[in-house]
């Protein structure tokens, strides 16, 4: 036998179980995130070097312009990118664990569509703009989530299978409504709505950062605690229940938390495809983890988003692609690989 797959840390009555491979993966991802973040801060029309970044951090900004670009433009954009990726990765991990299906992510089962419907109704019907779009998207996602949960409920229980199917059905209806809203709306308004629909982190300011990050900071702790009982439920409710997991309660609260995270991310950036789907799968497969690693999915989500953002900025031919399309293309390729590799074995409901 080679090195043990787990590391157990013990101190007095306390003990922590860490998967060695997942731990290394997280360290690498964190490193990538730091490197990527620094690169993201340096890239742009005004070239800024690492030295200048350090000067701004320590409070000796070389010039007003550098400080302004860094603090007011590039940092919020970076934080929205990372935050949205982290929120989507976390949310996807929880949804996939609950639905026991790699396709059971918030974007597949209708929540992103719900957020879009909220935003579109606000933009097109009420002519709303700015920060209120965020709230409308939030409301749309939450309403969709509660609706899907209630529709999927039967005898006080929500089965994984019903959740995914109901979600896909509701999502299809919402997509149709979204298309209808775009057609019906005034052309100018429809164009601005379409921009939002493409998903972008351009021009995001601190007003976008705060709700997202406060939500992330508040929810990560409870989500981490809830992941242990949720992982038990992968063995089926019949086994998890008698092992002391309050099955329905855990499912309900974790769903709500994941829903809020997905809604926060979508309201800050518009719909971003595939991050919530791919990040948990990548973390699980590369970490060879028997249960869904939550921190791995969070970090992977952040890395994927940041990578996609960097790609849009260094893309050749001066293409200014919205990040939502880039993740869509990457994600589509990934999905084909996933299906072609016959790796949906744990997905068959």
């Amino acid at each position: 036998m080679t090195t043990a797959p787990n590391i157990v840390l013990r101190w007095r009555g306390w003990s922590l179980l860490l998967a060695r491979r997942a731990l290394w993966l997280n360290i690498i991802l964190f490193g990538l995130l730091v490197i990527g973040s620094t690169t993201a801060l340096m890239l742009g029309r005004l070239p800024i070097g690492t030295q200048e970044i350090w000067q701004v951090i320590t409070g000796n900004a070389p010039s007003r312009a550098v400080e302004h670009v860094l603090i007011d433009i590039r940092l919020p954009r970076l934080l929205v990118t990372i935050g949205a990726g982290a929120a989507l990765g976390t949310s996807g991990a929880v949804f996939q664990t609950i639905s026991r299906n790699p396709l059971g992510s918030p974007d597949v089962i209708g929540f992103t569509a719900g957020a879009a419907t909220g935003a579109l109704i606000w933009i097109i019907v009420f002519g709303g703009t700015g920060a209120n779009v965020v709230l409308a998207a939030m409301a749309g996602a939450l309403l969709t989530g509660v609706g899907v949960y209630l529709l999927a409920r039967k005898d006080g229980r929500v089965s994984a299978y019903r959740l995914v199917l109901t979600g896909i059905g509701v999502g299809a209806v919402l997509h149709a409504i979204n298309a209808l809203l775009l057609v019906k709306g005034d052309l100018d308004v429809a164009i601005s709505a379409n921009l939002w629909l493409a998903g972008s982190v351009d021009g995001r300011d601190w007003g976008h950062v705060w709700p997202l990050w406060l939500g992330l900071i508040a929810l990560m702790g409870p989500m981490l605690l809830g992941m242990r009982p949720l992982g038990m439920m992968e063995m089926g409710d019949d086994l998890a229940g008698p092992l002391g997991v309050p099955v329905e309660r855990v499912r309900r609260w974790m769903l709500l938390g994941a829903l809020i995270l997905a809604a926060l991310a979508t309201s800050a950036t518009g719909p971003i495809a595939f991050v919530a789907l791919a990040a948990p799968q990548l973390a699980r497969r590369l970490g060879r983890a028997p249960t869904q690693p939550l921190i791995g999915a969070t970090l992977f989500g952040a890395c994927l988003m940041l990578g996609a953002d960097l790609l849009t900025r260094v893309a050749p031919f001066d293409l200014t692609m919205p990040i939502g399309q880039v993740t869509g293309i990457i994600g589509g390729v990934y999905l084909i690989w996933l299906l072609a590799g016959n790796r949906l074995r744990n997905g068959a409901p």
Binding site: V8, L16, L17, K154, D238, G244, P290
Partner: protein
């Protein structure tokens, strides 16, 4: 823990011991709005190996699910030491009663030892994830279930029989005084069935665990059970030792089976021979 060894007592010579810890009172259980069993009152024989038998769909599994609050009652209650189990904290209950359900799924890619370790969940906490004692108990449970040498194998790669023994190891690692098993011999060939039933009897005799199992094979039930619980149409129709209970009449009434009962030449328990 009750560590009285009863290994030298024949089943029906056992003293009719202490009052049952686990009792159902007027228990009604429904499934998808349909009442499966109504108004059941029973006590689980303390320190004994009880077996529930009955035709398909008579509510055996449902009763087991009710006894550990996996299926909350639509009327009545289940009491553990006089307390309603529906009001006990889930973790507390899981330290007392274990259940091996009919269907369980191993998470993809999990090793035997990691899966068995999950049986320790009710004894653990968010910051008490794996104590040295947990590891010792998991090793013991794998040993008892005969899967110790598979510890680092992938559960998905095991045969059906091996997998079933891994699940048994998991509920053993839970270390509950009361153990409920729903058709634990399914998926096993005849040799492994007997091996498993012997293991359960051993746990009962040597470690004093109270065991309730649902079994389909009547001869096996008669051979291993101290106490038989016979169900039809959601009701308990008879209870007692296999010897006292097994009659051609009962066979006819409960299973609609025409047969005779003879003495098993090896175990001297009732043996059913269909006509």
């Amino acid at each position: 823990m009750n560590a009285i060894s009863r290994s030298h007592n024949a089943p029906n010579q056992q003293p009719t011991t202490n009052t049952p810890r686990l009792q159902a009172q007027g228990l009604s259980l429904s499934y998808a709005g349909k009442v499966v069993s109504a108004d059941i009152s029973m006590g689980v024989e303390e320190g004994k190996f009880s077996v529930i038998i009955g035709p398909n769909g008579c509510g055996k599994s449902t009763l087991l699910r009710g006894l550990c609050n996996l299926l909350p009652p639509s009327a009545g209650q289940v009491l553990l030491d006089g307390h309603d189990i529906a009001r006990l904290p889930p973790r507390k209950l899981a330290q007392e009663i274990g259940l091996l359900p009919q269907s369980a799924q191993a998470p993809p890619g999990i090793t035997v030892v990691d899966l068995v370790a999950r049986g320790r969940y009710p004894h653990q906490g968010p910051f008490r994830q794996q104590s040295a004692e947990d590891e010792r108990i998991v090793a013991m449970a794998m040993d008892a279930a005969g899967v110790a040498d598979l510890a680092h194998h992938d559960v998905e790669a095991l045969s059906g029989g091996q997998r079933q023994r891994v699940w048994i190891a998991l509920v053993l690692a839970q270390e509950t005084p009361i153990l409920l098993l729903d058709e634990p011999t399914t998926y096993l060939d005849i040799a492994h069935q007997l091996e498993l039933l012997s293991l359960l009897r051993q746990l009962n005799r040597e470690r004093g665990r109270t065991i309730v199992a649902v079994l389909h094979d009547l001869n096996q039930a008669c051979r291993y059970a101290d106490h038989l619980v016979v169900m039809t149409a959601g009701k308990i129709v008879a209870e007692g030792t296999p010897k006292a209970l097994m009659t051609p009449d009962l066979l006819q009434q409960v299973f609609g089976l025409d047969g005779i009962i003879i003495d098993d030449p090896i175990s001297h328990t009732p043996m059913i021979v269909p006509r």
